[in-house]
């Protein structure tokens, strides 16, 4: 009950942020220098009747003459109904929504895979490094983590694509195959991109977990658990890990934002048809309406994920739940 009130507060905050973010992105187009319509439809023969008429139509469609507030509400109205605007192409207009429907799942897959990969590697390494603090394993892990943090993901992506994709040819260096079509090929093509994205995450998570674990291992209840005669492994994984994983979870969730940015470049590098590639195309083709929608979608996802992480955090640690309830 009190939990509900706590969540309610956060929800209001969520709504506020969403509002401001969408306001900002929806006005991006209007912020371009010069006439937005000219930007959207750069046509050589500016003065023909036809072109002028088309421009007028577009202007009307996008409410460019209306006051900003109206622009926003109109945009928002369309947005929540799933109308993400159109691509303005020579051949006509294609709804952005179609692209979103195809590209979004692909991007999500990439991000989820990379997070899973990162956690799968970082957690055991972090636990062992904390348990054997000071050993060569620990020192090696720390140094590797530091180095991984300093490598840009696209550099890593290029290196992996070259060495593993081209040179060794273990997996194809680019392209995408949907899971439903051919699971094996799908995995083969997603491994390198996911790994490139995961590398920096591995470093961050490993260090975080290690430092939290080291602190937890000093706590009394760990000694108590040991004194019951249960094995070190059980103490590590069943007792010490859970309280140490809070910061990790929070950061993992919050990291989705960084992931999205990096994922963009990785998608382009590996020719993965996700939202990143879509954004890239929208930029090269100057499809600003589409760009707006994409940016908005990504921002919304990010905000929602943060919110979900916050909620999860409360659930994982019952102390937080009760502490908040009491205050």
């Amino acid at each position: 009950m009190v939990l509900a009130r706590e969540l309610g507060k956060r929800f209001l905050l969520l709504v506020l942020v969403l509002f401001l973010v969408t306001l900002f992105t929806s006005l991006l187009l209007s912020m371009t220098p010069g006439d937005p319509v000219d930007t959207l439809l750069p046509v050589a023969d500016e003065n023909s009747e036809e072109v002028q008429q088309r421009k007028a139509e577009v202007r009307e469609r996008l409410n460019l003459d209306e006051p900003l507030w109206t622009q926003y509400t109109a945009w928002l109205g369309d947005f929540v109904r799933g109308d993400f605007g159109d691509y303005f192409r020579v051949s006509g207009e294609d709804p952005v929504g179609d692209t979103v429907k195809e590209a979004l799942p692909v991007s999500l897959q990439l991000m989820v895979y990379s997070q899973i990969l990162a956690l799968l590697i970082a957690i055991p390494v972090g636990v062992v490094a904390a348990y054997r603090a000071g050993s060569w394993f620990d020192k090696g892990a720390n140094t590797t983590a530091f180095a991984l943090l300093s490598v840009p993901s696209f550099v890593l992506g290029l290196a992996l694509a070259y060495y593993i994709g081209v040179w060794l040819n273990w997996v194809p260096p680019s392209g995408y195959v949907p899971f439903g079509e051919d699971a094996v090929e799908h995995v083969k093509r997603m491994v390198l991109p996911a790994l490139s994205l995961a590398a920096a995450q591995i470093a961050v998570y490993m260090r975080l977990l290690r430092s939290d674990m080291m602190q937890t291992l000093q706590e009394d209840f760990v000694q108590m658990a040991r004194s019951k005669g249960i094995s070190d492994r059980r103490v590590l994984w069943r007792h010490a890990l859970r309280p140490s994983s809070l910061t990790l979870l929070t950061v993992a969730g919050l990291n989705v934002g960084t992931l999205i940015g990096n994922a963009l470049v990785i998608e382009v590098l590996f020719s993965i048809p996700g939202l990143g590639t879509a954004i890239f195309q929208a930029i090269t083709e100057r499809q600003y309406v589409a760009l707006q929608s994409f940016v908005a979608i990504i921002a919304i996802i990010f905000v929602l994920v943060n919110f979900a992480v916050d909620v999860l955090y409360t659930v994982v640690d019952p102390r937080i739940r009760h502490a908040r309830a009491r205050s």
């Binding site: 401001l20 900002f24 840009p152 550099v155 290029l158 100057r286 921002a299 990010f302």
Partner: protein
Amino acid sequence: MPEPVADRVPTAAAPAGNGAEPVEAAPTRKLGLMGWLSLIWLVGITLAAVLAPVLPLSDPDESFLRIVREPPIQPGHLLGGDGNGRDILARVIYGTRTSLTISVGAVGLGLIVGGFLGLVAGFFRGRIDTILSTLFNVLLAIPSLVLLLALVTIYASSDENASNARRMVVLIVALAIVSVPLLGRITRASTLAWSEREFVKAAAVLGARPWRIMFREVLPNVLPAMMSITLLGIGIAIVFEGAISLLGLGVSDVPSWGNMIASGRPELARAPHIVAIPSIAIFLTVLSLNYLGDVIRARFDVREAVL
């Protein structure tokens, strides 16, 4: 964070730990070997960047057919040539100028604006803090690279004939905007912590005006935290510049580390060194910046308030 053993000498009352707390290898307080190497590297590339015109380098834009795609150690061209036969060594060094100008300029600008806003938010609190914090949070709600892309696209790409200088300016300003919330948040946290200290309250009691207190008492103490995040930020800016160039939106007339990688990409299979060399430059620079940033943070050990 686990404290070093010296702070935790086991007494009878303290619990004996599990296999933990050996004397922590200290990369922290002193510079050490890594620190000096990092410093040397950074000073070195800065010098190289500044002195580039007077150094005995080939023209970075000139094509030497002889060295097209040739790997390093060529007579006269130490690091080989790229896809167009341009001297990579010269390009890397001139690229340092570009990359450093952009990243340092952007983070510097962001530091001034973001740092100032963070100081104000943390010091005056109340409504100003709420407004500024919300502003930071909104900007942070959009992933940095995406925001950067959006800003760069809108202000630079829309004009086909955007001059290089204009592109650089837009890039710098956009990067600055992206860095403002991050720098602002850290500064704010640090300011909040320091404002609670007695000497600040003492200054207020003595009748010093708020702005004066903010600048003379609080700012000097907040500076180390800002310095640390600035170094890290420069590293991030360099990487972003690379990403932007890779996506074709960066500067193109002058070499930068980013556009060297971008142009080397098609040749990856045949001549990987074209991509490798600027990548290594980025890696070493970011590594040095990260390391020094860490050292500064550990040394001044500011217990920043968690937001």
